[in-house]
Amino acid sequence: MLKSFLKPILIFIPLALIQLTVVPLISIGNIAPNLIIVLITYFTLKHGQFYGTLLGFILGFILDLISGGLIGAFMFSFTLSAFIAGYFYNENKIEFNVESFFFLVIVAVCGALNAFIYSVISNSNAEVNLFLLFLEEGLFPGLYTSFFGLPMIIFSSRKGIK
């Protein structure tokens, strides 16, 4: 079980570096993709809901620590997003889920949910409109994130990450 977490954690390190140094350069008005959620979604669809939820928690904890942000915010949002991604897990459809464009839809859903939860947690403004917050802070980053799921489809369909 522990060994199976090694691969995503090893992939996470360069991804986190890119997330913190390169992604700010391609953000559009504070709307930025979250590359880590692509990784979490991918491994959740490969290994199931239980594994994904635990992976989301671990990677969220590490990202919270190394980004200097609120500890617990990414932990919570990644855990919930991975749990939701787990509902798309199907033992008989693993290849379809991670190698087709359906993967982008799942990433968009999880990305939107993750961005929305993170915003709600870190928002100290009580007057905020949740619907608008979901549109601006959830939907747009989710769609932007899904775009970065594309290399994952190409990569996994050609070589396959086992």
Partner: protein, 277 residues
Amino acid sequence: MLNFFRRLAADYKEYILLIVLSVFSLTFLSKNEKPQVKHLRTFAFGNFAVLNEISSSVTSILKNDYSLEELTKENSKLMLEVSRMRKLRSENDELRAMIAFKDTSKYPLIPAKVISKLVNKMHGNFIINRGKSDEIKKGMPVLNEKGLVGLIADVAENYSVVQTLFNSNLNIAIILQRTNVNGILSYDGRELHVKDIPTTYDVQVGDVIETSDFSSLFPPSIPVGIVTKKESNVLGLLHNITITAFANIPGANNLFILKIVPSKQINDLEMNLLKQN
């Protein structure tokens, strides 16, 4: 009974795990200010920032940033000087002596480079390549050549976390340079606002905002931004004004830390007064 619980755990293990992990996460969230959690964070970001710095030096090619550090530093000093001169001109001779006492331009500026950014609408923060080894302390103001950027929120040995103005947890006491109207600047996730200024006060679009003498976080007269919108509330008794920051915070790469901790300065003053009495 034991079998029942075993079956329950097997059937609902995902839900049980979700609840346990969510409780853990929320507990951590509520304990962010605990010293142990702070130490853990400082240790983690301080070590990972080494990798960030290497990565940042590679990506700096993409940033198209060729500005000379020394020139930018000089520019920042001049910006503070201009701000101070404007204020001096608009006040009378008696106040000048006081303003000279609160002169911020005499404090050293420490140049720093942004090595990573957490892009988030509500909680903007940067990690910079200066830390305890450069005598950086929590609470020091951070600015660039145009104006205030934020303040030091956390310090590791060689790196620090900067809480930017675009952070909903940061509220700053400000003053309108032209009319000396005071207010509290806050960020709502979209814009910087100063709320509830009486309509009887003279506020105009284009007025310059700077840090106030009342601020316990920042020294006075650091340029913050400009008034870009003025709205009255329903009763027409109060104004809400929108501010555009002078500093391009999302695009900031080179920053300066003003080597001053205002609260310590106040403490020292109070100590001096006590000594005199």
